[in-house]
């Protein structure tokens, strides 16, 4: 795993999905407490580049850097 996520903060804005260069981000079928389908990262595709962190307005991501 290269990125930790806080799914409870996700507002499903879709910015990370759109900018992810590896298309590694999708959304869960379930909703979080705020009613949004939080993002899910495909660890196989993720390269830990940090673009999701950069574009996320809600502090969902923590790129571990390893």
């Amino acid at each position: 795993m290269k990125v930790l996520v806080k799914p409870e903060r996700c507002k499903e804005c879709g910015l990370c999905d759109a900018f992810c260069p590896k298309k590694a981000i999708s959304h869960a079928d379930h909703t979080n407490l705020a009613g949004y389908h939080p993002i899910v990262i495909d660890d196989e595709k993720c390269i830990g580049c940090g673009i999701c962190y950069t574009t996320c307005p809600d502090g969902v991501f923590h790129v571990l850097g390893k």
Binding site: K2, E8, R9, K11, E12, C13, G14, L15, A18, F19, Y36, I47, G48, C49, G50, I51, Y53, T54, T55, C56, P57, D58, G59, F61, H62, V63, L64, G65, K66
Partner: protein
């Protein structure tokens, strides 16, 4: 080559901005810069009235809600009595350029050693998307329902260019959050602005073109595209007043 990227502790809170709003990115960038410059425990934010007010619940720093538009004056008072603290106003376009234009202009005019971050989303977001001085010609808002008629309401105001050309200030720039590359460029501008203040060079301002998906009636992605396709041609990105490097 992977680098750790973690939301700075002083802003690591859930905030009630709308999905896809640019505010969350902008305040995170400011806090990243403060952290990287070693100023995250030396910061006071005078916060504007608008969506900016949400920072009251987000920031874990000294912060003060200012009357609408007055952050430039409040910041002046703070900086004059606490010259060693970093003072950053965080305001929207309606706050800084409509109701607060006198305070904003005069802080720049005096070259107060403060940093002003204005979030330009071309409308009054918090109150439901009314026209502001940065609303684009033809843009429909709740007070320009047929599209802004600039012949009777004036043309969108370019504040960084105004203060950069007219006053003796330290730094003025405009960035945006519309793409990862732009976000990285913006972070450089914000860092310059804070460094200018640390170096006592004087007034620094960074305007940020920021999406307001809800009031623009666009999806977050489409809102970012609007910035790239419609706003940047009128509100160009870049530095309008560069820092003049002082001898150490």
């Amino acid at each position: 080559m992977a680098v750790e990227r973690k939301v700075p502790a002083i802003i690591d809170n859930p905030m009630s901005f709308c999905p896809g709003c640019g505010h969350g990115i902008i305040i995170r960038l400011i806090c990243e810069c403060l952290e990287e410059l070693g100023q995250n425990q030396n910061i006071i934010f005078p916060i504007g009235v608008s969506c900016s007010s949400n920072l009251g619940g987000g920031l874990v720093t000294d912060r003060l809600h200012c009357p609408h538009g007055r952050a430039g004056a409040v910041a002046t008072g703070m900086k004059r009595v606490n010259p060693d603290n970093i003072i950053i106003t965080y305001q929207g376009d309606g706050d800084a350029y409509n109701i607060g234009i006198a305070e904003s202009i005069n802080a720049a005019y005096r070259n107060e050693n403060i940093t002003v971050i204005t979030v330009n989303n071309t409308n009054f977001g918090m109150t439901g998307g009314q026209m502001s001085v940065t609303t684009m010609e033809g843009q429909k808002t709740s007070t320009s329902t047929h599209g802004r008629d600039c012949s009777i309401t004036g043309f969108p105001m370019r504040f960084p260019e105004l203060v950069a050309s007219q006053f003796h200030i330290a730094y003025a720039a405009r960035g945006t959050v519309s793409s990862p590359a732009h976000i990285n460029q913006l972070k450089g501008y914000i860092k310059n602005a804070i460094e200018a203040q640390m170096n006592k060079e004087g007034y620094s301002v960074v305007e940020v073109l920021s999406p307001c998906p809800i009031n623009w009636n666009l999806t977050p992605i489409k809102a970012m595209e609007r910035i790239d396709n419609e706003l940047i041609s009128y509100f160009p990105l870049g530095e309008f007043k560069q820092r003049s490097v002082k001898e150490a």
